[in-house]
């Protein structure tokens, strides 16, 4: 058995318990937004999504048992994602700025017969 496999086998996780926690979080993420309060929706829907993803990555993917550089590889791609967002969001989300205005959307013309 490899060192990695031996390490993984020594890591005891109650997978069924993790699954039960994930299901409880799923129920909360569905019911929370029904209250209709924006901050509650943000926390229960998106905050819980982050917690669920963490639980799956840690306990099911065993990311915590991988060499540190694996986490760095995945983290780097997340940073690229944030850079992409920061670089393009101003163009998408703002409609005007200093000396520029986004033109109105041009509607497609009627087909010619």
């Amino acid at each position: 058995m490899s060192e990695h496999a031996a390490h993984a086998e020594g890591h005891h996780v109650n997978y069924v318990r993790i699954w039960q926690i994930l299901l409880v979080l799923l129920v909360i993420s569905v019911l929370g937004p029904m209250i209709g309060i924006k901050i509650v929706t943000l926390i229960t829907a998106f905050g819980i999504a982050v917690v669920k993803a963490y639980l799956v990555a840690k306990n099911f993917m065993h990311l915590n048992l991988q060499p540190r550089y694996v986490v760095y590889i995945l983290g780097t791609t997340l940073v690229f994602m944030l850079l992409f967002y920061a670089g393009t969001a101003p163009d998408v989300m703002k409609h005007s700025g200093d000396n520029w205005v986004k033109p109105d959307v041009v509607q497609p013309s009627a087909p010619h017969h």
């Binding site: 997978y15 929706t41 993917m61 989300m93």
Partner: protein
């Protein structure tokens, strides 16, 4: 003869495992770019909430339950493979495939209903994102299930048991993508 490059001392983990992590790194960029674009459009256009109201949260929740449960069977298959029980690992992988099939059948039913109500990929930008993101994810589910059938067939004969972990890690990633798609497409109304 077995391949000689199954492990690399510099990496510290089996080559196949390292390859899976690289695949997932590229997948993060693909799905991250798509979801990042969705979020910036969604935040900039309040009218998207009206479109999102047409999605069925209960169907989305049911499919989330299906994927979370299939992740459980996938990790239990990994556990069985580590104990050297290939038959049990294969059985649990087949359960995971049943989860994948259930997810796709529900998705097909959901999309059929939505298309019949006039919500198609060309209706507007929200529905373009909806079908593109959910469709790309569904393709990953189908691809993962097909690969899993091959891995399970080998595992059943006690061969290549290390691949059970590899396909499991991929499957959990597919689960994580859906964990973020669910609130974005179904809950934020």
């Amino acid at each position: 003869m077995r391949p000689i490059a199954t492990t690399r001392s510099a990496a510290g983990i089996p080559t196949g495992l390292l390859a899976v992590w690289w695949v997932l790194a590229s997948e993060i960029v693909i799905f991250g770019g798509l979801l990042g674009s969705y979020i910036m459009y969604r935040l900039a256009h309040d009218a998207w909430a009206e479109q999102a109201a047409a999605t069925n949260v209960w169907i989305g929740a049911f499919n989330t339950f299906v994927l979370l449960t299939s992740s459980l069977t996938a990790v239990l298959a990994h556990q069985a493979a580590e104990r050297g029980d290939g038959k049990l690992a294969a059985k649990r992988l087949y359960y995971t495939c049943i989860g994948a099939a259930t997810f796709i059948v529900v998705k097909a039913f959901e999309w059929t209903t939505e298309i019949q109500h006039g919500f198609t990929i060309t209706s507007n930008t929200f529905w373009s994102f909806y079908y593109t993101a959910a469709g790309l994810h569904a393709l990953h589910v189908i691809a993962g299930a097909i690969l899993m059938l091959f891995v399970a067939a080998d595992a059943k004969k006690g061969r290549e048991l290390h691949r059970v972990e590899l396909i499991g890690i991929y499957w959990h990633f597919v689960d994580i993508v859906w964990i973020f798609l669910f609130p974005l497409l179904y809950i934020a109304k």
